[in-house]
């Protein structure tokens, strides 16, 4: 079933190329890379280690120069980094000298400069509460566990109300129990906010569980989109029902097959 109003394109990579200069000449990571992501779409990117997934993500974030081509967000060519493209890094990257609250607040202040202090505080509290940190607002980031810190990282990103959410192996550093918890947190928060998201992951199950589409990248150098899997399991999703869906294993097999090459 198609929705009546076709969703607009939120993020587009056009003829994207990335070359890192090295002493032995340019090392071309990505070339002729095309990607189109619609509003409210969640896509995952999988591919072998070193194929250029982080490179792609940091380019979209504006933290890494574009060699050739364009990245267009909401009909505008991106210029540098900005809070319209929030990033959840693999390591939580919180400022350890600030509390959980202050870590979220420093971003909220930038984005909602016009609001009152109370409004801004409410936004921070809302998102911290959503990621399950309702009673740790005023804890120093350095005193939180890795998992807790990454929860703050997620809250910080959503609280910016970005156009695009970028996640680079957000749960890669966590143990499997914590990872499962955080995947559930992300599913829940995302279901409410429906922010266009691009997530890099090496966990095939995670990709299927969270995404509408899984982009499979070819091995580098000169990596491009190798294949795309549309995950048609209905939303809202829950871990149990999704994993029990027979299609889950078909997708899983398909993705693993691609990675095996």
């Amino acid at each position: 079933m198609e929705t009546v109003t076709a969703k607009k394109t939120m993020l587009e990579c056009v003829n994207l190329k990335k070359a890192y200069p090295t002493p032995k000449g340019d090392f071309v990571v990505l070339e002729d890379f095309q990607l189109k992501i619609k509003e409210e779409e969640f896509i995952s990117i999988i591919g072998h280690s070193g194929c250029g997934k982080s490179t792609l993500l940091t380019m979209i974030a504006g933290l890494n120069d574009i060699t050739e081509g364009n990245i267009i967000v909401d009909a505008n060519r991106i210029q540098g980094a900005g809070p319209d493209r929030a990033v959840v890094f693999q390591s939580p990257s919180l400022f350890p000298w600030m509390t959980a609250m202050e870590n979220v607040m420093i971003g909220v202040k930038q984005v909602f400069a016009h609001g009152t202090k109370k409004q801004r505080e409410d936004i921070c509290k809302y998102y911290l509460d959503k990621v399950g940190l309702g009673d740790s607002f005023h804890q120093r980031a350095s005193s939180l566990s890795q998992g807790m810190q990454q929860r703050v990282g997620i809250a910080r990103a959503f609280a910016l109300k970005p156009k695009v959410l970028l996640l680079d192996e957000p749960f890669g550093m966590l143990d499997s129990m914590t990872r499962v918890e955080l995947q559930d947190v992300l599913i829940d928060v995302w279901a409410k906010e429906k922010i266009t998201a691009v997530m890099v992951t090496h966990d095939v199950d995670e990709a299927i569980l969270l995404s509408d589409r899984v982009i499979m990248m070819t091995g580098g150098p000169y990596a491009k989109v190798g294949d795309v899997a549309h995950i048609e399991i209905e939303r809202p999703r829950h871990r149990k029902t999704t994993i029990e869906d027979p299609r889950f294993y078909e997708y899983r097999q398909y993705l693993l097959n691609f990675l095996d090459h």
Binding site: G82, A86, V87, F89, S93, F95, W97, I106, Q110
Partner: protein, 363 residues
Amino acid sequence: METKILNALKWSGLGFLEPLIKLIQGKEKDKNIRLVLRQIVVPVLSVFIFLGVCNFGASYLYNKERDIKIEKTRSVQGDAAAAQMAECIDSSDLSCKPNSLPSPADVKQGAISLWNDHKMISEKKSAFKEKTAAINKQRKEQGLKAITYTGRPSFVDQIITSLKTVFAGFLLAAFFAIPVGIVLGLSETLRSSINWIIQILKPVSPVVWLLLVSMVVKTVMANSDSDKAFIISFISVGFCSMWATLVNTTMGVSSVNPDYINVSKVLRLSVFSNIFKVILPASIPMIFTGLRITLSVAWMVLIAIELLAQSPGLGSFVWEEFQNGANDSNAKIIVAMFVIGFIGFMLDRVMMFIQKLISFEAK
């Protein structure tokens, strides 16, 4: 309650007492007996061994000096005078005591005499104050300068002067090196273009700094009647000691975790916020390590600079005692040595304590 006391001990650097307290409470006997032995008994023992070695060395040097003195008398004045000299020395008459490395007992005597001297001088000072109070009041009303005590400073006065100088020098170093370090840390171009100056100036000896500073200060302050010796020595101390802070601040600022910089870019923080909310807090640990080194270097060069600049303080105290050559001068020099060492140690402890207080790293 108990853990509170133990924590307080740990924070104040007395953590080594912990096993003793536990032992008194009768907890984990075997383990704590071993810890007490290792952390308290053995260190105390080592102090006694140290004193023993000093005593032995001192008496060896004393005897040698005694023989030299007797031999010298013999060769100049003949056997009779030599025998008299030997008798005089052995009767422990101060007038013919050989002047060599003082024994621990001499040092103790020296410390006591310094303390008595201090008490005497402070009494004199307060007496002087009382006597001049009325006159000074009058002079103040007439717009004249008060009459101040100009007598010899006591050992404690010298310590206070030295502490003032080192503190002024340290502040100067911090106020100069931290901002400059931040600017250098932020700009790669500036860093590489100025690096050579830093590399060349860093190893310059305190003596040269002192000469340089006094050249400048002498001209600049030619018509001023402020305390030039103090100004020259604290500026020299600042220059000698600031390098560690400068280099560490530069390194700290230029090596902030790139993830933090990325977050700052994504949030589009202003230059001001970026520096004061991200870069500075992130480099505080490095800056503090630099400040700690700066303070200990400042204290170390201060003594040498005071000695050379003839500005009042512990350094000139040591030099004057050495020149003086009275029979307890050597003992007083050793007393000063321990006082200098102890103060240096305490300064470092204070810095460590502050560093712990403001550190954001997980405790």
